[in-house]
């Protein structure tokens, strides 16, 4: 791995070390309805080139839906999302900007081996010959300490390994923009810390613009440049991670530092009187 970080504003290709301009993302007054359910409410923020932006929020607050808008899998009901200044919903943008989304479930292709999962993108886009692809795939597996799993089937991997394979598959795309959907959920604290380190390292080494959706407070505090908090589809806070240490808003405080209070009204229903 190269040791010196890229200068700001440039993405370093993990394979060729060639530097290209990093891309920014801008979300403007984005609203999304599914039928009568309003999932996103007038969300506005932007992510600077080369930044790690962490989006936090409780389950069901619309984080995954927001990510899908950035990669163009969902269309806004109103408002606009642009990536590198281009409309995220147009197919042309996907051809011009390499975006990689690491799905919460990993979304690995179950019928393909780990190797073929990673090799699919360069093969389909005819990026190099098989030898070149092999080199890329093996290099990506090595970066994520996945040596020796290349011939395994995704269904034989543990949760943490699946996430790492999904990240490796994204890395092979040589992305200018990396998006992670809850990369540390369902993982034990040690594996979570490893994944956080990987995300931070990839960003430092290659200067890829990174958006991480998570409700992992440690991840946000440790690796983010800025943090946004989404609740019920609205962005209620946006600022540096230091803001998270002593939140003033009671809702945010409750979300970030939940207390188990046995006297809380929500426990009253559970009480049984003999």
């Amino acid at each position: 791995m190269p040791s010196s970080p890229s200068p700001a504003g440039a993405t370093r290709n993990p394979f060729t070390q060639v530097e290209t301009a990093a891309v920014g993302v801008s979300v403007e007054h984005l609203s999304k309805n599914f039928g009568s359910l309003q999932v996103l409410k007038d969300v506005t923020f932007s992510v600077e080139p080369g930044e790690i932006f962490v989006l936090m929020g409780p389950s069901g607050s619309g984080k995954s839906v927001l990510l899908k808008h950035i990669v163009g899998l969902e269309l806004p009901t109103s408002g606009r999302v642009t990536v590198d200044g281009k409309d995220a919903s147009s197919e042309a943008t996907r051809e011009q900007v390499r975006m990689a989304l690491v799905f919460q479930s990993g979304a690995l292709f179950n019928s393909l081996s780990v190797y073929d999962n990673l090799a699919l993108y360069p093969r389909e886009h005819q990026i190099t010959d098989e030898a070149g692809i092999r080199e890329k795939v093996m290099h990506a597996l090595k970066i994520l300490s996945l040596d020796g799993v290349d011939q395994k089937s995704p269904s034989d991997l543990s949760g943490g390994m699946k996430k790492r394979v999904a990240i490796a598959r994204a890395l092979v795309m040589e992305p200018q923009l990396m998006l992670y959907d809850e990369p540390t959920s369902e993982l034990d604290p040690v594996t979570s810390a490893t994944i956080s380190e990987i995300i931070a390292t990839l960003k430092q080494e290659y200067h890829v613009t990174t958006i991480v959706v998570s409700h992992d407070r440690e991840l946000a505090l440790n690796i983010s440049d800025r943090v946004g908090i989404l609740m019920d589809g609205a962005l209620i806070s946006l600022g540096p991670p230091s803001d998270l240490k002593a939140p003033t808003d009671p809702h945010i405080a409750e979300f970030l530092y939940p207390k188990i209070d046995l006297q809380h009204p929500r426990f009253k229903n559970l009480e049984t009187t003999p």
């Binding site: 899998l73 996907r94 975006m99 989304l101 799905f103 979304a107 699919l120 993108y121 389909e124």
Partner: protein
């Protein structure tokens, strides 16, 4: 009203999928591996059952026809009846129905599960159109395999008829005369006619099952619902299309 809406929507999305898939036809040579894999899958899953069913359909045809033809003393024409029915109608329709049950359901299940587990979304973010990678090789494979399966079905059915004709007491026709009559009355055109039907049915079944699989929404429960829908819609389409195509082709 909602039902009609769903039917129209299904029709529209199927057309769209067809147009999309065909627009990638030029990529077929480099997807040769996938195409061969699909051919193998279609052949491997349907051939044994096509052979067994055609044999018995041919036999039953000969048996039933033998009974009634014997009343008129015309049982020597059994070969023409079995030959024509198998080639023009029963062969293609039966192969298509088996294709829907075995291959169509498998396609719907596989694509629905890829959709539900976000593999299809992953393909899209990788800028790999599902129509190109998942649908096109299957459409190409079914076009190649349907005639093969139908011809095998026809031959086995004719053969089944011949055996019944020989060993059923009231019929007792030697294979030589059975096949002589069959050949005299069943023309090359009749076989081609049946193959054209088979191509159409097979293509429609695969296209519809792909579309239903790819349009699955919701959780794992919906995979089962999609498979059922794919098979039911396929069967209805086979029989409805058969009526119209038979009218046009006669």
């Amino acid at each position: 009203m909602k039902q009609l809406n769903n039917i129209l929507e299904g029709f529209g999305s199927t057309w769209l999928l067809l147009v999309r898939s065909l627009s990638y036809t030029a990529t077929l040579p480099r997807q040769f591996g996938r195409f061969v894999e699909q051919c193998y899958l279609i052949g491997y899953t349907t051939l044994p059952i096509v052979a067994i069913l055609s044999f018995f359909i041919g036999s039953v045809l000969a048996l039933q026809a033998g009974r009634s033809m014997q009343d008129f003393g015309t049982q020597q024409f059994i070969g023409s009846l079995v030959g024509l029915s198998m080639a023009r109608e029963l062969g293609p329709v039966m192969v298509a129905i088996l294709l829907a049950g075995r291959v169509g359901s498998a396609i719907a299940a596989e694509l629905a599960s890829m959709k539900v587990y976000q593999e299809v979304d992953a393909l899209e973010t990788m800028n790999i159109p599902p129509a190109r990678m998942l649908v096109l090789p299957r459409l190409a494979a079914v076009l190649v395999m349907m005639p093969v399966l139908t011809i095998i079905g026809d031959l086995v059915g004719w053969f089944g008829g011949a055996i019944v004709a020989k060993y059923t007491k009231i019929i007792s026709i030697e294979p030589e005369s059975y096949f002589a009559v069959l050949r005299h009355y069943t023309h090359f055109n009749d076989v081609i006619n049946g193959l054209m039907k088979a191509e159409l049915f097979g293509f429609v079944v695969v296209l519809v099952c792909c579309n239903i699989g790819l349009n699955t929404r919701g959780g794992p429960r919906e995979i089962g619902a999609s498979v059922t829908r794919a098979v039911v819609v396929s069967l209805i389409l086979i029989l409805v299309l058969d009526y119209f195509v038979t009218q046009v082709l006669t």
